[in-house]
């Protein structure tokens, strides 16, 4: 087997890992802060991608503004849903949050299928990022390098914001003890809305990044949720660092599996999840409660 094939699959793994990371990061923030298992995370990814497609085709707004506008739009929709619907199930068992977001996913996805049907729509790679680098042992498309770079920057940035800034400090406190945190003058309900917005914006951002690689379709992101869930379980529920490290590792392992044993590549993530759950039920970076 040639090294080209291996490197090629590793790059694919890295790209997949980048999307897993951006989506799991948002998922981990939401589950940690709000206790909501947001099944609709993949839907916001789809909304991000569709947002950039709509901006381009209806308004002629290109990739670069879309990179900001589309996640912002997804975040506004997400925050409105949090305020009106999701915040009503916080005091209930986790299963209600899961069912509610599942319903939201079915509703939004259904509406998009109704209007746009399921066929994929192409989205052009922005001019500045066409072409690629010849690394000698392989050809690396510029856009793919850009995706990995941006995912790394956003992952590090989010981790930094949560661990080292005052807003992160407040978010951590509200995650750990929401009631007491309010007694310190902090408007926790507003903070939860904001946290949900950030988590959703990360998914929307991933969607815009994905649009030129995968075609834009109402179905995109639907199956990603299962993988994200596995990533977050392996990394440890609510652990930001765990989600990032696990997402990239699992993406790479999945890529390698495609070289070694292609038939099993779709399974590898879930086999690892099974092993981790048996050996360390709280996840690799999680703390036993």
């Amino acid at each position: 087997m040639s090294s080209q094939v291996i490197f090629g699959q590793l790059v694919v793994g890295l790209i997949n890992g980048s999307f897993y990371a951006l989506l799991s990061l948002g998922f981990a923030i939401i589950v940690g802060l709000l206790g909501i298992i947001n099944v609709a995370q993949g839907t916001f990814y789809m909304l991000g991608a569709f947002g950039s497609w709509m901006l381009l085709n209806y308004l002629g707004i290109g990739y670069w503004p879309a990179l900001i506008l589309s996640p912002l739009g997804a975040a506004i929709i997400g925050m409105a849903l949090e305020k009106t619907l999701i915040s009503r199930v916080y005091h209930l068992d986790h299963i209600y949050g899961l069912l509610l977001t599942y319903g939201l996913m079915m509703f939004i996805m259904g509406a998009f299928i109704w209007i746009y049907a399921t066929a994929g729509r192409p989205y052009p790679v922005p001019e500045e990022l066409r072409g690629g680098f010849n690394l000698g042992f392989m050809f690396l498309p510029k856009y793919r390098a850009w995706v990995v770079l941006m995912a790394l920057i956003f992952c590090f940035g989010t981790w930094y914001a949560i661990e080292k800034t005052s807003i992160g400090r407040t978010l951590r406190a509200a995650t750990e003890n929401p009631k007491l945190t309010r007694a310190f003058g902090i408007n926790v309900p507003a903070l939860l809305t904001f946290g949900f917005g950030v988590g959703v914006a990360l998914a929307g951002f991933a969607g815009v990044m994905a649009a030129p690689i995968y075609s834009v379709s109402p179905l995109m992101g639907g199956d990603l949720v299962i993988v994200i869930f596995a990533v977050v379980v392996v990394g440890g529920m609510g652990s930001i660092l765990g989600a990032i490290v696990t997402a990239f590792s699992l993406g790479l392992l999945e890529g390698l599996a495609k070289v070694v044993y292609p038939q099993g590549s779709n399974m590898v993530i879930f086999v690892i999840m099974l092993i981790v759950l048996l050996v360390k039920p709280a996840g690799l970076f999680g703390h036993q409660r």
């Binding site: 400090r169 406190a173 750990e176 007491l180 007694a183 310190f184 902090i186």
Partner: protein, 235 residues
């Protein structure tokens, strides 16, 4: 001198689910006074504190802070009026280090202490400022819980059993901090099992039993009514 806040509670009822915990609590704390709430375990002292802070979901009656009724207010709004809460369980955050714990409460005004002054008051905290909050000893956690509310500029302090389970030398340090709050003219509501500690600091003592205030003992009467107090506390 701080603009201390007065506290008046009228016929306060509080519930946890189906259990009716407070049955009409009425008490008055003029601005700048230090009172204690004493009584046996389960009398409703902590529930009274949590109700003032807005942390009990079901409550009825009136709680007036500087004349403003906050019975329906959210905890963050009550805190922003200048009320500071040191909970019985201390409420130190495990995911925040000592400095982050100190910096967490939102500042209300500029009259609070600086981080440096808080470290001067509790030098142990300075040594451990990078430690995870819950890695501290019980005494250090209590210092942190008190130090944390000194920075915000609050002027009504609710202290729930600040000396519980602490060594005498640490109780002294906590006592010094409370004396300091008092000398600055702050209003203090103290729940305290250690009655000797309480008598040294407080102006008056409210006695609580089964969710009601059943007696009030001014400082001057403490010595003369020692037997009765012992009976109230079930010692």
């Amino acid at each position: 001198m701080a603009d201390a806040l007065s506290l008046a509670i009228r016929d306060l009822h509080a519930f946890y689910g189906d259990s009716h915990i407070l049955h009409g609590v009425t008490l008055d704390v003029p601005a700048g006074e230090c009172i204690t709430i004493i009584g046996r375990n389960g009398a409703g002292k902590t529930t009274t504190m949590r109700s003032i802070m807005g942390l009990v979901d079901q409550r009825r009656g009136a709680i007036e802070i500087a004349g403003q009724n906050v019975i329906d207010a959210m905890p963050e709004k009550i805190a922003r009026l200048g009320v500071a809460y040191v909970p019985e369980e201390r409420g130190i955050y495990a995911t925040l280090d000592v400095t982050e714990n100190l910096l967490l409460p939102r500042k209300i005004n500029d009259r609070g202490m600086s981080i440096e002054d808080i470290y001067k008051l509790f030098p142990n905290l300075k040594e451990r400022r990078r430690s995870q909050g819950t890695r501290l000893s019980g005494g250090e956690q209590q210092m942190l819980a008190i130090g944390r509310v000194l920075r915000t500029g609050a002027s009504l302090f609710l202290l729930d059993e600040p000396t519980e389970g602490l060594a005498p030398v640490i109780v002294q340090q906590i006592g010094k901090a409370i004396e300091m709050m008092k000398s600055q003219g702050h209003t203090i509501v103290l729940v305290e099992q250690n009655f000797r500690f309480a008598t040294k600091i407080a102006d008056r003592h409210y006695v609580m039993e089964r969710g009601r205030i059943i007696d009030m003992i001014p400082r001057a009467e403490v010595a003369g009514r020692a037997g009765q107090i012992q009976q109230y506390l079930g010692i």
